[in-house]
């Protein structure tokens, strides 16, 4: 079982604060972490290797410092790591990112499964996983909450839907994106940490993966950010005081007045 797990290094958005005067993000001191959903992807990759044998490689695209995320993944138990880093990748939207990742995935040669987290917490698009599958023309399943089995060239899994779940068979090779429900990521082991420390992580450039310069970075990105602003929440923020009975009745009359109930 040859497995690639795509991960992203993201700023820990739970630490992001807004400057009340300028209404902009305060980034100073915000630590970089592995995108939380990708932790489940790494864990699932390792579990598949434990069940079926093989190798887990973690792949990320990002600036040179994204290497730290790869080392963290290796300390959890991934066997190998590759960093995709090139100035040419700057400004990539999801289409360019998925193209770049899929070119790198092709370079690995024979693979069975590519695992991504459901989405990244900075962009929240959930688009890169399905777009990788499309670029590779592989089978795909989003929102995977359980892998039942891998046999006879296909993977049987459960996909979380809005109103329940689907059980499906996907032909290999396949790309899947996983949700939190799938597992509990393990902590790094001491052995893993040692390995991560000494591992030489190759850096692949646009040229090395044979990427079309027109399809990476800004040039390859059809979507453009036009403006960014801070949301305004017009909430009255009213505290309802009084005895519980009075509080409850007041609240019910408010939501009735608003026509909700």
């Amino acid at each position: 079982m040859n497995i690639v797990v795509c991960i992203k290094q993201v700023p820990d958005v739970s630490d992001v604060r807004i400057n009340p005067e300028t209404h902009t993000l305060i980034r100073e001191g915000v630590p970089s972490i592995i995108n939380p959903f990708d932790m489940y992807a790494i864990e699932e990759g390792i579990r598949l290797r434990e069940r079926f044998g093989g190798k887990v490689t973690v792949l990320t695209m990002g600036p040179p410092q994204a290497e730290a995320a790869l080392r963290d993944a290796v300390s959890m138990g991934a066997d190998d790591a590759v960093l995709l880093s090139d100035r040419a990748f700057a400004g990539s939207d999801t289409l360019a990112t998925s193209y770049t990742l899929s070119m790198a995935i092709r370079k690995f040669g024979s693979l069975d499964v590519v695992i991504c987290g459901k989405q990244a917490i900075d962009g929240d698009t959930a688009q890169v996983g399905p777009e990788i599958a499309e670029n590779l023309q592989w089978g795909f399943a989003a929102y995977v909450r359980k892998i039942e089995d891998i046999a006879d060239g296909s993977i049987r899994l459960e996909r979380l839907m809005d109103d329940g779940y689907d059980i499906l068979n996907v032909r290999l090779p396949a790309v899947i994106t996983v949700v939190k429900e799938i597992n509990r990521p393990r902590l790094p082991s001491l052995k893993g940490k040692m390995q991560a420390k000494k591992m030489a992580i190759p850096v692949w450039t646009a040229e090395q993966i044979g990427a079309d310069p027109e399809r990476v970075g800004l040039k390859g990105s059809p979507t453009k950010v036009w403006k960014i602003f801070t949301p305004e929440f017009k909430r009255k923020g009213e505290r309802i005081e009084g005895e519980p009975r009075a509080q409850v009745d007041r609240l019910i009359s408010e939501i009735r007045r608003l026509g909700i109930v």
Binding site: L25, G129, A133, M161, D163, G164, K180, P222, W226
Partner: protein, 399 residues
């Protein structure tokens, strides 16, 4: 497009470097220098008081883009029933189509569901493209991608909208990638520039801390998935006229790589939090699995769904399908009642666009109160059952 620094205006004050969410600006020899990690978010432009930073102008659309005309919505169905987000898209799509002076089409994929096509007309579609085939009865990534991409290639709409549902967010990115066009995820506001015929797609990012407006200037169609419940449903009017074009697959290769073996609907109707108008959510304050009955009772009395914070899900008091927030679902109901939820940023990210937020919490300093429309400081085990009882009494009283 690129971020440009005007060296004459830049004083090297460093405010932009501190503001940059991507750590992409260095101050070198008294001037801002943009690094490769720049994501063109524009946050620095707003804070620069010397107007030294500017975004290079967006290139004018290529002329051949003008051959793309019309607004499409993907009318999602599951089990032959149209999703409510389809009705919301018809309402918003109608406005965009009218502003652009073009027609509004709904794409319906399924099998033997002609009645649903008529419903789409009654809700504002000028035309329904109904592809009827047994292979499209249930959602399949490969089949839906193949058919929608084929229709778009042949008919060339300028805008394609879908709900940001599990189905929409699974296969719409594949359609966009197949067509080589841009896609904006989970939009909460849409507008058009009728002159440039550009779709202005606004969406939250960074856990809802910022909003970004995204354009797709030089490729067509412009595609977006749209969050549930942020737009009103279109009104139904049976007198509306529209064309229904029923088609077969006409030789489109579906290239099925996956197959749904079984679809399991959760029996409890309180689970589908993305479609719910009212959500009652419980957090750590609920304190046990058994105690969630209190939350469920109120949800039932209100005809709503049950949500939960990450804390409650991690403690295994309730299943993950109920989790609201950054690592769960994003919801946008008319009424969100947070019980015993402190209101961590990650939770707020998933529910702060709700219309009315009620917080019930013992701790008067809980951050949830800052996001709430109405706050009650008190014991949820007293307040919530009382509310359930009073609601029931009132409902009986009005009978």
């Amino acid at each position: 497009m690129a971020l440009l620094v005007c060296k004459e205006k830049c004083t090297g004050c460093g405010v932009c470097a501190q503001t940059c969410p991507f750590d992409a600006i260095d101050i070198v020899n008294g001037t801002a220098v943009i690094k490769a990690s720049c994501n063109l978010c524009g946050a620095c432009i707003e804070v620069c008081e010397f107007e030294a930073l500017q975004m290079e102008q967006i290139e004018a659309p290529v002329s051949d883009l003008s051959t793309y005309r019309g607004v499409w919505i993907f009318a999602e169905q599951r089990g032959g029933v149209l999703s409510s987000v389809a009705m919301e898209l018809l309402n918003e799509g109608r406005k965009l189509a009218d502003r652009l002076g073009v027609s509004l089409s709904a794409v319906l994929l399924g099998h033997e569901i002609s009645a649903q096509a008529s419903i789409l007309v009654a809700h504002g579609a000028d035309r329904v493209l109904f592809v009827d085939d047994p292979a499209l009865k249930d959602f399949n990534d490969d089949a839906y991608t193949a058919v929608l991409a084929d229709l778009i290639r042949k008919e060339r709409p300028e805008i394609v909208l879908s709900g940001a549902t599990a189905i929409g967010r699974s296969f719409i990115p594949k359609v966009a990638a197949r067509l080589g066009t841009g896609l904006t995820a989970d939009c909460t506001a849409l507008d058009v520039d009728p002159g440039k015929r550009l779709l202005l797609q606004t969406r939250p990012a960074w856990g809802g801390n910022i909003l970004a407006t995204i354009l797709c200037p030089s490729r067509r169609p412009q595609m977006a998935t749209v969050r549930h419940k942020v737009f009103k449903r279109a009104d139904q009017d049976e007198r509306r006229k529209g064309e229904i074009e029923r088609r077969g697959l006409n030789g489109i290769s579906l290239d099925l790589k996956s197959q749904v073996i079984r679809t399991v609907e959760e029996i409890e109707n309180t689970v589908n939090i993305t479609e719910a108008d009212i959500i009652v959510s419980g957090g750590r304050g609920v304190a046990s699995k058994e105690n969630f009955a209190v939350i469920e009772d109120l949800a039932r009395a209100l005809g709503g769904a049950v949500g939960a914070s990450r804390g409650a899900v991690d403690a295994e008091w309730i299943s993950y399908a109920h989790q609201v927030g950054q690592t769960g679902k994003t919801v946008c109901p008319k009424l969100y009642i947070a019980c015993g939820i402190s209101g961590a940023v990650q939770h707020l990210a998933g529910m702060q666009s709700s219309e009315v937020i009620v917080a019930v919490n013992k701790d008067p300093d809980a951050p949830i109160f800052k996001a709430a429309t109405y706050g009650i400081v008190g014991d949820l085990f007293e307040i919530v059952p009382l509310m359930t009882r009073r609601l029931k009494e009132m409902l009986e009283g009005t009978k």
